[in-house]
Structures are given as structure tokens and as C-alpha cells.
Symmetry: D2
Subunit: 382 residues, 4 copies
């Protein structure tokens, strides 16, 4: 039976020194839906082979070229069922494009491309081909984020009035790009695209706000400073938002907030209640009520939604984290492949539409910053 | 000796139902520097008398009219040494003006007046008369806020790069102004002035940011929505900031964040470290270091500054709060009266300059909102 | 009307260097029910006078001898209405005894005496005289402790099954008694009594456990080590408890837990729910439910009991602390004096019965430690 | 090269409905050191096959009998390299015994056996055979636990004076054993052994205290109530401890603390500092200093020990949890197999000695409870 057979995953990127490649591998394997069957981990032959051996990939399926992998795997009876793209941003588009044309389902890291135009072209190709395409907006994989989404959709907070999303990092507070590979490509417009902080983590925050509330941003006013001298791209951003029905919002992100680790935090206030989720304690959902009473729901607790249960492996009080959130996205991806339709019916798995939205957001923020004024976000509503 | 004699305080406002009047009384008495000797607590004779009796004020010194109190007390050998103004905003100016002209030191609640013009007139009068004038920006009275200020001034965080200040309340999430006295005058432009949320709590946040960092805001872009239908004044605000050397900042405040209590929070990031203070845990100062290590300093701990020690009555681990913060401001005020000079030499006690700054801030925010654009904040630097 | 007149308080102890004396003064004055009218603050005339002047006490009512104060005040038409005893433990008994015999209501710091025998004698005197006698078990003054008590009494947790109470301090982790006055008398059996840590803070923990649950300890097994070399009295204690219906419990306290500040924490588990209160966040009451859901109630919130409201001065989110808890006990004490009956009808104010219970507890713990075995706690139930 | 080849793991237990089996699988696979090659997941053929298919195990290597698996795998050229035992406790001994005799390295869940005698027999066999034997005391796999251990060993807290370890659960607060499989065997002495709560989670707490401090418990006094009516085994426990140099300690665990999830918490106080770790926030290590200053170290931060880094996959601020802790133990186990020696040289991986210690602890606690007195813990020091 198809659902029971483990799917065979190929990976592009993820060589030694990669941050997100190993996370994709662990996420894919965790729940037993995928095996890692092939990889173009690196253009450097020894590095590619080394990673393949470490991860138990058949040496003849460690490819130095991703083009060869796509071609080679198509000819095998046990060829890969799907492709994970875990490279720097500028490689997303060509690899995804080739895979989709080869009919291979794709799961791609974010942001989907480096330009809005590329994103729109991928969307056209996805629509035309019908091949599943997923984007790993990690935080969409957290059980309590899904719980938040389900509760808001069910009206638990009443009409939404205010949304605040923040993402704080400090790792770029000094000019680490001179020696740190991860920092190097993220601060280089040729590899990262036109957004620095706004593209790298601002998009996570933006996606989360829309994903959880179901609302769309319609206008924004952004301030995108370059705080560390010598940077070409923004390394800090503050954005005033207005959502579709004029609800005010706020998005703040920084990579120069010295001492901060990875502080993503979402707050949503409605007419009858408020809600908070922090990445620091991902197993909790805090609900705020008008009588100054808080409720804290815990992952694994009784009475949570199917959406949350599906992303939960352990009883309450047994911490699950970042890798598990990826695993949940890979579960969704496996389902989508099995079903042959994307997006999934409940819309849990971020897809090409989310990718295009994020590119609109980056583009609008950059324009707003440049003009020191409010800017309308295109593609707001269908 | 003057320093040892308890000072005699008169109060204008603070009748039954007042929120801030009783807080001023408790703050004034706590450290033994003041007694409450007289009051014009209410225009309603029974209410005025009732409050005087409750607080042990000699019945003949409970005045129905504040004008009578100023005149009457001047003629007593044991007349009041200072005046506390705890009325709704629109009364601040006339009472303060009269008191200053009578040579009476004044301690006034915030915001100092309802218009920038009035504030500037008071400033002229203070400068001309040399009479002490203090404003109870409450949070300036917290020991760990003073510790933060002292550490930043000493360079503990390196050059400051980013400032984030937030103030979250939810008590105006519904139209409580129809029945709640506190809400009624705060949402009425005739009593509160032109700023709603921005004037009531945004000014606290603004003052705190400048007070702790010693930096001045030079430009801002504000969004001041009226979230609850029917409101004339803003009840939520988000403000992009740029400080004097172009440092980015963010100020967010809301009175419609359902379920929030009184969540004031300040974060400051510098080149070499970060810092956080939350009103929820006022005895803590969190320091963030680039090695992902946090340090938490506690009020009453060893090694804190004189500034913090002065605002500390109890050993570490024995909570002090809002009333104690007021008491520290009243200590400062007593010192200023004894010394006959204001502001105090170390600038701990908020004074008329702080009041004028805040009125500039409110005015600039309102203009920015109206024009949907960035606005320069006047009076930025001396 | 009696209820409206401010009561006149005299104080024994509280000279310069006292920790708890100033706290009593602030607590007594905070809510306007008492004025500080007289004091025997110190046996040293200058110190006594100095403190009186600082606190606005009429110089002729600053007495060097407490005996003189009791006598002298009885002869004044405006003599004191009540006496606060804030001396080291060994002075509690003689002063309280004399005051009660003079018909003066007494509010005394804890532990009530240095021996069980003295406590029982005071109880006899209180019963015989009918004069109000209160003990400042501080934590009984916290609003959310009263909320906890009210909820447990109303059955919110079902039948109680397990009680855990802890009190962690680190200030005696080194031999500070050589220079610190507070440490000196607390580690000296002649001044403190036979209990060190168990008497100083273990009694707070014990009182809190019984106060909140309404249950009585019937047996215990204690380990009372002297951790710092050279100590005569215990400076750390761990006690296994069994409550009246055999419910297991645990009491832990230490004054040598390096780095701890003043960490009192109570947890109560019942058949249908659990509850936690920590002194670190005194405005919160955490409720734990079987579905792994927590509820946090905040002081000042809507829907809390009268008991909590009575100890609340400010809206939710405005921290109140240690001094305010004392103030609530002084409110109760003022009511008891006005009513002429003690204990108060709802039993909020700790009284002589609580004092006697605590002395039984100390005595039983010391015996259990000495015999390395379980010990029955006398006076368990009426 | 052996180190690079993925090791082949067989599993006994872990059929549908198992809690810990899937955790072992995920832990083993996460870091790529093991593949799951064979399993005797269940005695029921369909269940065994079903689990094998789900986990990608070759159908002919899904064995209904563990005895067959050991025999069958020995005959394959690609036979398993090691065996994971994830059954209820009473099966640990026979399976481990057979595997060790077959020369197969074993990784076994805790407690190691149901009786001390069995544990000692296994120890003899391990010593005699030299075959690696590991026990999954989960918490020994957490990075910050290893950091705590390294810091204490390096003297960061000075001489240790007090140890407090707690483990709170509420899932057995009602008689769930009538329907919950996990509860059923844990409350049944025939399957769980003589310890209920003390054996199931008390041993985790005990192990953690000794593992982190390097000290050995020498005496204890235990109270082991059966709180829920009808239970044969204890479901709550409180234990006074004395460590090898007379240091006092406290161990508390409960499975009937209604509303608690999985609250393991360790505190260690030394002469010069204190330390706290909570399972709720496993990425943090809290250090307490005598000046009332706290330091919080975060997993992934700069400056942590090799020990912590080894158990860290992600940058600071990216949560890792329970599964990752298992993965770290499996990393250690892979190293031990490669090196052919157990225990590992730095003693990170819990081994048979830890198992025997825990059985001594359970036995001593049960005797102490039965006699209501202190009891000496055998096997205290080598």
C-alpha cells in the first residue's frame, strides 16, 4: 500500500557545514515516512561522498551535480519520490524549476526564491503541472501554532483586532560574515536576494502572522536599517502593518539584537481574548481573557485539536522542538504526495502561494523603506 | 534640621473613586518624608470630608476648593510645604500654575498638561520662579530601572543600537467608558487632551526609553488607530522611532489588547550586550550577552548601583512594587525641596523638561498619524 | 465613629538597623488605619530618639524602656490603642505578657515565643483576658494566598492529597553572623530559641501549609543539619509530613542554599486539581488541571474572592509586595480591635493559636531529628 | 571504516501502543549512527509485522519471538550489531541475559530489572563478558545536564552541600490503570517490580542526582504512600537523603500530583554557588551566585563544555527535547560499540553500575518506608 511504503527522498544541498540540511534529514526520517535515498549534497566530490556515507546513502546515489541526480534517479526503478532543496536562496529557483518539470514533488526551504518574479513563475509551473510543492516555513510545523490557528478559526478570540509578531536574533551583531558561512551568503544580495533580515527571518514572522490568523496584510510601512556598518542588506526591521479589514499590526525582527537567540513570538488580540506563542516554549499556548485570567495549554494535553495532535509524538511535558516541527511538515508532505494534491485540504502545509505572498511582502517592505512611506501590498486577496 | 522634619503635603484630587490619589498618598508616606496635611480631594463637600477623615487629615484642612487650600495653607504657620496634583489631565495646568506662582513646590501626575503650549508655559514659569516641579513618571521610580540607566551610562552595553518599548493593557477593549470613571475622562479629549492611548500610556513608554538610555527621539512614524468603534481618541498605537544618532526604535502601546494587564517592557540592545526590564517582574534586570548567556540582577542584590539601592527598602527576594516606586519619587522630591533645586543633580526625578518632551512626542505622533508619514520631533536636543 | 478614627500604634523594637521594624511601620500606615504614635525603638537613648524623629513621633513619646511606654501611654488621653512587637524572638514573651495584662491589643512578629511553654502561657492569658493578639505571619497577608485558601475551602481541588511547601534562602551560606546583626541573633539559641532555620523560616512554611489548606499536620520526620561549621542551630531543614487524614506532605527550608533569595513556594494537589503560589510572583495563583491545562489568576482580576479583593489596592498588573502584605494584616488587626474580638470571624489574621501550633511544630521537628524517627505532632486537633 | 558505517539495531518491544519504543527508534536514527534493521516488536504476529512495515524493516526481519531474532540475526552476514530492549520491566532481565550471552551489545530502558538480585547477576555477566551494556536514563542525555556535571566536577559551585531533586507527574491521579496500558503494567508488581512511583520515576531522579554531582547517597528515609485507593505499589514518594560526606538532600516524586505533566527538576547548592535544571526548559542551566545574581546558560551558547556541545545539534534558541536526549545516548552507545569498551571513558553513558545502584536505592527506600526509619544504602562506595 502506498501510504505504508516509506518514500524515497533526494536532497540538494546539505553538505558539511550546512545548518538546515541536517535538519531536513532528521525531520524527514523522524516519523518513518521518508528514507534519504539520494543526494547532491555538495559540488565538491569528497564532501558530497562524505556526507552520503555519514547518512547511509548508497555511494552511487551521492551525486556531485543536482542535474545528474534528477536525471539519474528517474531511470532507477527505486528512484526518488521527492526532492528537498536546502541550498542558499539563489539556487532554489533553478532546482525547483527543473524538478517540477521532471514531475518530482519538491519541498523547498524559505524564502522560495530571490525575486518575486521567480516566485510567480514557479507558481505558474506548479499550477500548470499539478506537482506538489511545499515550503518549510518551520513554525507552521509546531503543534501549538496549529492549535492557535484552529482556535482562532473557530472564533475563540472573537474578531481579530491586533497582531504583533517579533523575531529576535543577535548572531549578526558583529561582522561575522567575514568568517561564518551561514552569515556570508545571508548578507550577500547575490545569494540571498534583496532582503536581508526582512528576507531571512522577517518572512518567517510575516508567514506566521498570516498563517495563524488567516488574515492578509494589505498595507505596511517599513523601516529597514543597516545597523552594522558595511552591510548592503538590512539587518534589522520594524514594520507597521494594516491587515485586510484595517486591523493594526506590528512586525519586528532583528539579527543585531545582541544576546538574543531565536526569539520568535506571536501575539494576537481579538474582541474577546488574546493569545501568545513563543518559540522559546513551543509546547505552550497562552490564552488571555478579559478577567485578567490566563490559560496555558500544553502540547500533548487533553482536549486539543486534531491539528495539534497530529504534530505531537510525546505526552505533555516531554519537550519536542525544532526538528520535530520539521518532521510534521514532512508528514504533511508525505500525505500530499500520497494524495497527489497540493495544497493539502486543510492547508497546513505551506505551499507556493505562501511563497509568492512572502516575496510580495519583501518587495513592499523594501519599497516602503526606500520611500519612507506606507505601501500597499499587492496580491492581497484572491 | 530640615532634612529630618517630615514635610507637609497637600493634595488636589484624590477623592473617593480616584485611582492615582491613594497611590500618591501611600508613596508620600511610605518612607516617612511626608505627612498628608491638607487636601482638596473633591469639589463635593461630603466626599472631600470623607476622604480627609479616612486619611487622618485635620477636618479644617480638607478644602472643597483647591484655590482656598493654596490661600488658606499659606496663612498657617504649619502650612503645607508642597502640593501633589492627582486630578484628570485638564486640571494639571491651572493648579500647577497657581501653586508655582504661590511658591509651592509641585509634584504632578503625567502627562503634565493637555497641550504642548501649556507645558511650555509651565516650563517658563518653573525656570523663572525656580520652584521645584516634579512629574510622577512612575517607572522612573523603580530601582532596577535606575540600575539599567546607570549601567547604560557606564557603557555596559556599548553604543546603543536599538530600543524597543511596549506597554500593553486591555481594560479599554470594550466601551467601558459608559460606566467606568477612569475610562470616561481618559477617552474624552476635553479632559485627557489630544492623545488617547498615546497620551495615557504611550508617554510612559516614551519617557522610559529616553530616561534609561539618555538618548532622544528625533523622528517617528506613528499609527494611532481607534480600534473600538465610537472612540474619538486613539486606543492603540505603534510608532517607528529613530533616535538622535539614527538608532532605530519601536514603541508599541495598546489599551485594547484584550487580557493584558499592565505590561510595560523595555529592551535596549547595544554593540556588546542587551538588556530587558518588565514591569511584571520589576525586581529583575535581565542582561543578554553575545555568548547566549543571560545574567539576571535582582533588586537588593550585592553590587548594584547607589541609584538602585536608594530605591530599595527590603532584601532581595522581598517584592516591592508600584507604590514603592512612587515612594522613591517622593524621596527624590523631598530631597529636591530640601536642597531647593530642581532638577536634582543626578537627574533621577522627572521634571518639567520631561513633561515638555512628552508633549512634543504626543503632538508629533498625532501629526505623523494624520499625514501617514515620518515626522521630525522638535525640541530634540538642547 | 471608631472605625473611621485612625488607631494609634506603639512599637517595641525597630531601632536603626532593624529589618522588620520599618516593615511594620510601613504596613501599619499604608492603608490609613494606624498612625505611629509612640515607640520604644531602642534601649540606646540616641538611637531611640533618632528613629522617633525620622518617623515623626512626638519626642516625648519615644521611650527608652518599653515598660515606661506601656505605663506612660496608659496615662495619656491620646494613648496608644495597640502595640507592635518587632524585637528578636526572646523579647516577644515578656513584652506581650505585659501588654496583654495592661489590656493593650498586641501584634507580634513570629515565632511567637522561644519555647512552647511560653506560647501556651500567652495563649492562656489571651483566652482569659480577651485582648486581641495577632501574629504577623507575613504570607497570610498576600491576596492570592487568601484566594488559594478560599478556593480550597470551596472544594476547587477536591479532597487534598499532597502538600509541598518550600522556603529557600542563601544569606547564611557563610558565617555572616560574625558581622551581620540579623544573622547574629537568629543563629544564637539564647535569642532565637531552639530552632534555627526551622524556627525562622520553617515556621513560615509550616504556617502557610496549614493556613491555606485548613489541614493539620499530625506526624513528621525531620532532618535538621547544621551545614555551616560552627553553628549551634540548624541552618537547613527537610521534613516529611503526614497531615490529619494521612495525606503526605513535604516541607523544605534552607538558609544555606547559596544564591537563593527568599523563595517561598506552596503547592497543593487535590483529587481534581493542583495549585501553586510562589513568593517570587505573589500576584499569581497557578491552577493545574488534569487535562494538562493551567490557569493563572492574577491579583486584581475580575472574579476573585472578597478575601483577595480586601488585600488588593491596585488594578491587575500593578505589583504589590511584602509591605502591602503586612498592610493587609494591619487592616485585619484594625478590624479586630474595632470589633473587640480575636480571632476575626473569617480567621484571616494569624492569632495565638497559630503561634502555639508553630511552637509544637518546632519542638516536634527537633525531637524527630534527635531520634532519627517519625514524631507525632501534639495539639493536632481541638 | 567501522566508525562511519551505520550500525544495525534490533529492537525487542515497541509494538503498536508502546510509548518508549518509538522514542528509541527516533533517538537511534536521528544522528545517523544506527538503522533499525530488525525487531521483535510484539508477540502478536500482525502487530509485529505492522510495526515493521511502518518503520521500513525488512519483513523477514520482523520476528514474533525475540529468541528467534537473536538466533536468526546471528546467522546473517548483515545481522544486527546491537539490541534495544524497550519492554515492560520484567522482560528486561531475560532478554538482556540472552543477548549478552550471545555477545550482542545491549541498550536497555530503565529500571534495569525488577529486583536487585537480577541486576547484580547482569552486572556479573557484563563484567565477565565485556559486552557493552547501556541504560537509557534519558536525562543523562540532555546537553545542559552534562554541562552541569562538567561544571560541578570542575568546582564551579565549591563543595556540594545540598541536593534537591523532584519529579512530578499527575497522570496516575485517577485509576487509569483499568484502561491505560502504560499505567496497567506500571502499577502491577509482577510487571514493574516492587517499586511503583519510586521505581518508575524516582529512579530517574535518583540517577540524575548522583550523575550530575558525582556524589553517592549513603542513607535515606522514605515515605512511599499509596495515594489512590486500591493501589498495591506506591504512587508518590518523598525521601530524605544523606550523601556520602553527610550532605543533606531531598528526593520527591509523584504520579498523583494532579495537573503536573513531567516536571523533573534538579537543584544543587555548593559553598560558592547554586545550580538548577528543569526538564520544562531543558536548554537552560541556571546558576545562582551569592550576590543574588543569576546566570542562565543556554544550550548552543558559546563557551559551553565539549560535553554539552556533543549533545547539541542546533544553534542556541532552537529547541531540542526528549527525542534528542535519547539520540545523544545512542551516539554514546555507538561510540562504545565502536570502541568495544563500556563504560565510556568519560562516563557519560549510564551503564550496568548505574542500574545496580538504582536497584539498591529502590530496595532501601522500600525498607525504610516499611520500618518508618532511616536506612543505609548498600553498595555506596566502591
Amino acid at each position: 500500500m502506498t501510504e505504508n511504503r516509506q518514500l524515497r527522498l533526494g536532497m540538494v544541498g546539505g553538505g558539511p557545514g550546512s545548518f538546515i540540511g541536517p535538519v531536513h534529514r532528521m525531520g524527514a526520517l523522524l516519523d518513518g515516512r521518508f528514507t534519504l535515498a539520494a543526494g547532491a549534497f555538495s559540488r565538491t566530490p569528497e564532501k558530497c561522498r562524505e556526507q552520503g556515507v555519514r547518512w547511509g546513502v548508497d555511494p552511487e546515489r551521492s551525486y556531485v551535480s543536482w542535474e545528474d541526480m534528477i536525471t539519474g534517479e528517474r531511470m532507477r526503478p527505486d528512484g526518488i519520490d521527492a526532492l528537498a532543496i536546502v541550498t542558499p536562496n539563489y539556487m532554489h529557483y533553478p532546482v525547483a524549476h527543473a524538478a517540477l518539470r521532471a514531475g518530482l514533488p519538491v519541498i523547498c526551504d524559505k524564502p522560495v526564491t530571490t525575486t518575486l518574479e521567480e516566485a510567480e513563475q514557479l507558481r505558474a509551473l506548479v499550477r500548470e503541472s499539478g506537482v506538489p510543492f511545499a515550503i518549510t516555513y518551520t513554525y507552521a510545523g509546531y503543534a501549538m501554532i496549529r492549535e492557535a490557528r484552529a482556535r482562532i478559526a473557530a472564533g475563540a478570540l472573537g474578531a481579530i483586532r491586533k497582531i504583533v509578531v517579533e523575531y529576535w536574533q543577535g548572531w549578526l551583531a558583529t561582522s561575522v560574515e567575514t568568517e561564518n558561512l551561514q552569515a556570508q551568503w545571508r548578507t550577500d544580495p547575490n545569494q540571498a536576494g534583496a532582503g536581508g533580515c526582512i528576507g531571512d527571518i522577517g518572512t518567517h514572522a510575516f508567514h506566521l502572522a498570516e498563517y495563524v490568523t488567516g488574515l492578509r496584510v494589505k498595507a505596511l510601512c517599513a523601516d529597514l536599517p543597516r545597523v552594522v556598518p558595511g552591510r548592503t542588506l538590512d539587518d534589522d526591521c520594524s514594520v507597521l502593518l494594516r491587515f485586510q479589514d484595517d486591523q493594526p499590526g506590528l512586525l519586528a525582527a532583528s539579527q543585531v539584537a545582541t544576546g538574543e537567540r531565536n526569539g520568535l513570538r506571536l501575539r494576537v488580540y481579538g474582541e474577546t481574548g488574546g493569545l501568545e506563542w513563543c518559540h522559546e516554549h513551543p509546547d505552550r499556548l497562552r490564552l488571555l481573557w478579559p478577567d485578567a485570567r490566563e490559560e496555558i495549554l500544553y502540547q500533548g494535553g487533553i482536549g486539543l485539536s486534531d491539528a495539534a495532535r497530529r504534530g505531537t509524538r510525546l505526552p505533555a511535558g516531554h519537550p519536542e522542538g525544532f526538528i520535530e516541527a520539521f518532521a510534521t511538515l514532512y508528514q504533511d508532505f508525505a500525505d500530499v504526495i500520497s494524495a497527489g494534491t497540493c495544497p493539502d485540504t486543510n492547508g497546513f502545509l505551506p505551499c507556493i502561494e505562501d511563497g509568492v505572498r512572502s516575496m510580495h511582502f519583501i518587495e513592499a517592505a523594501i519599497k516602503s523603506h526606500a520611500t519612507r512611506s506606507w505601501h500597499i501590498l499587492e496580491d492581497c486577496l484572491p
